[in-house]
């Protein structure tokens, strides 16, 4: 069974431990949301799963093989990463940026195939309207949608390959509500096609609406990991975020509110 797995990992910055003893197995077909207060180690965990972080203990395994044993190229064909902030050094167009997502497949894909994937992903994130504009001139939310299209393109490059894993670090921060839903719906569609998705989220309602499982990080420790319905318990959330959080039912739907 394919999986991207953190096995008892610890990441240090100098003498300080950023995350420790974290074990998490991301499987194809599921969406896992990582939630927790600022500084809990969410991005660090995502970075470790991406292969960016040196591990002080434990290991990260892709299909049972340590990430370190895989080349950058092979890894790029199995997992895509959307970082929290993305700058661009030169005035590439949005379309060029999305095409870069297919770099690991450039020997295999024809020019037409590249264009088809790029256009489809731009259209999926509603970025076609500014696809020809310089990335550096776009607004924050527009850039975010271009970066999302880039990682979606990387995921869609080879449907016959073993399942991809998509790692998203606060993918909806800075997006308007409609695009927040659209972005997470895109991620869920990929999960339905057999990809494993892990997203760092701050919005509990979005996590509740789109995630299959919830991972809660507090002070570098994984304190809860389980099905969304049972893990997003108002009492637990109030404790984790040190602020009262209520669950409000409205017909079939529910929402979390923080009356402060």
């Amino acid at each position: 069974m394919s999986a991207l797995e953190a096995a008892g990992i610890e990441v240090r910055a100098g003498a300080r431990s950023l995350i420790a003893g974290v074990s998490l197995r991301l499987q194809p077909g599921e969406v896992v949301a990582v939630i927790g207060p600022n500084g809990a180690g969410k991005s660090t965990l995502l970075g470790a799963l991406a292969g960016d972080r040196a591990l002080a203990a434990g290991q990260v395994l892709l299909d049972g093989k340590p990430l370190k044993s895989l080349t950058r190229l092979l890894l790029a064909r199995r997992r895509a990463v959307m970082p929290q902030h993305s700058s661009l050094a030169f005035d590439f167009t949005a379309r060029d940026v999305v095409a870069l997502g297919l770099l690991a497949h450039r020997d295999r894909l024809s020019k037409q195939a590249v264009q088809a994937i790029v256009e489809a992903c731009l259209s999926e994130t509603e970025a076609l309207a500014f696809a020809g504009r310089s990335y550096t001139l776009l607004s924050g939310g527009e850039r975010q949608r271009v970066q999302l299209a880039r990682v979606l393109a990387q995921c869609d490059a080879d449907p016959t390959a073993p399942p991809m894993f998509l790692l998203l670090d606060e993918p909806i921060a800075g997006l308007d509500l409609a695009h927040q839903h659209a972005a997470l719906a895109s991620a869920c569609r990929r999960a339905d096609r057999g990809l494993g998705v892990l997203a760092v989220l701050h919005d509990l309602n979005m996590a509740s609406r789109y995630a299959d499982r919830i991972a809660i990080l507090e002070g570098g420790r994984l304190t809860a990991l389980g099905p969304t319905e049972t893990t997003l318990d108002p009492q637990r959330l109030s404790a984790v975020f040190a602020t009262p959080i209520l669950r409000v039912e409205s017909g079939d739907a529910h929402a979390f509110i923080s009356p402060g």
């Binding site: 970082p83 993305s86 030169f90 095409a99 770099l103």
Partner: protein, 343 residues
């Protein structure tokens, strides 16, 4: 792998060819187009001995050297800007040319005393080899000092360049005291740059280095594009960033070192050329690298033609001319950036 629709390289090649023809014809001893055609066997006009000698022995090596140096500095500058993720990186400003010049000048001044063990036939290689090592050391030094997480801050980058240039000129200044008169004249030529006195035998080793190192940048074009996203992001999409950086630093040091070995320090070509080409064609390196190389080559050939004609019978150091164009251009770029994001 930018989705580029324009194919402007033939246009740039044509312009470069025209500047080469102009470079061959212009000079204290003017050569007509018909004589040039006769020299390459395309016209039946009789060719007199003087014209032939001027073309083959003086003008041709000089124009070829100018073209190759311009191409190498421009392509090297473009690669360097990608490596530093910063459009203000330039081999001259960052001290890389200065480091290469110091090493080369050391060979000129101290070579007689130190290089006894080198067989005479390998002597011409010592100069480009030393310039390469000098360029390599300074490139690594700038990168170590200025790059944090693969991103170079403009301020640190330029300050590091100032410091390294100061060290290089101090070193060259020390060598001035041990140099004899003949060497002294060479030293001045080195720090200002120029193609005076270029001969086939003197430039051949460095030209060979350029013929290998500059085209070797081209296959990395799509990887240079990826670096624009950031080093970490480039890694995520499949680029072995550490390997790419080693490759870039080596090739840039080879290209800049060999250029300095031929002509001394010719400033600003590596800054101005890629910038203009980016404005014209966009930042995709698959077009940027060859177009910048052609543009830079043509630019230096024309600048050299100007340098040897405007004050005949004397010659202006070409570095003076490129700085005259490049200095204000650089200030204009700096002012734009300062206004936009406070540097």
């Amino acid at each position: 792998m930018a989705v580029s629709r324009r194919r402007p390289i033939p246009l740039f090649a044509l312009a470069a060819a025209m500047s080469v023809v102009a470079g061959l014809c212009i000079g204290a001893f003017p050569v007509g187009i018909d004589q040039l055609l006769a020299a390459v066997g395309l016209s039946s006009t009789p060719l007199d001995g003087t014209t032939s000698a001027v073309l083959y022995a003086i003008r041709a090596p000089r124009v070829l050297a100018a073209f190759c140096v311009g191409a190498a500095l421009a392509a090297g500058g473009a690669a360097m800007q990608s490596l530093f993720r910063n459009p203000l990186a330039d081999p001259g400003l960052l001290g890389v040319s200065g480091g290469a010049a110091l090493a080369a000048v050391s060979v000129i001044v101290l070579g007689e005393r130190v290089l006894h063990f080198v067989p005479p036939e390998a002597r011409p290689w010592c100069l480009p080899a030393a310039a390469f090592l000098g360029g390599l050391v300074t490139t690594l030094a700038v990168y170590r000092i200025a790059a944090r997480n693969g991103e170079a801050l403009v301020g640190t980058l330029l300050l590091a360049g100032i410091a390294l240039n100061a060290i290089a000129s101090a070193g060259i200044g020390m060598l001035v005291f041990v140099a004899d008169d003949q060497q002294l004249r060479t030293l001045i030529f080195w720090t200002m740059g120029g193609f005076g006195g270029v001969t086939w035998t003197a430039i051949l080793p460095a030209l060979l280095v350029l013929a290998v190192s500059v085209p070797a940048l081209l296959p990395a074009a799509h990887l240079l594009d990826a670096l624009a996203l950031g080093e970490r992001e480039a890694g995520h999409i499949g680029v072995d960033v550490e390997r790419l950086k080693r490759r870039l630093v080596t090739l840039v040091a080879l290209a800049v070192g060999a250029s300095v070995a031929i002509s001394g320090v010719v400033g600003f070509v590596g800054l101005v050329t890629p910038h203009i080409v980016r404005l014209l064609l966009g930042p995709a390196h698959r077009t940027l690298l060859p177009a910048a190389a052609l543009f830079g080559g043509g630019f230096v050939v024309l600048a050299d033609a100007l340098a040897r004609t405007i004050v005949t019978p004397a010659e202006l150091p070409i570095g003076v001319l490129t700085a005259l164009v490049g200095g204000p251009f650089f200030l204009w770029l700096l002012a734009g950036r300062a206004a936009r994001d406070g540097l």
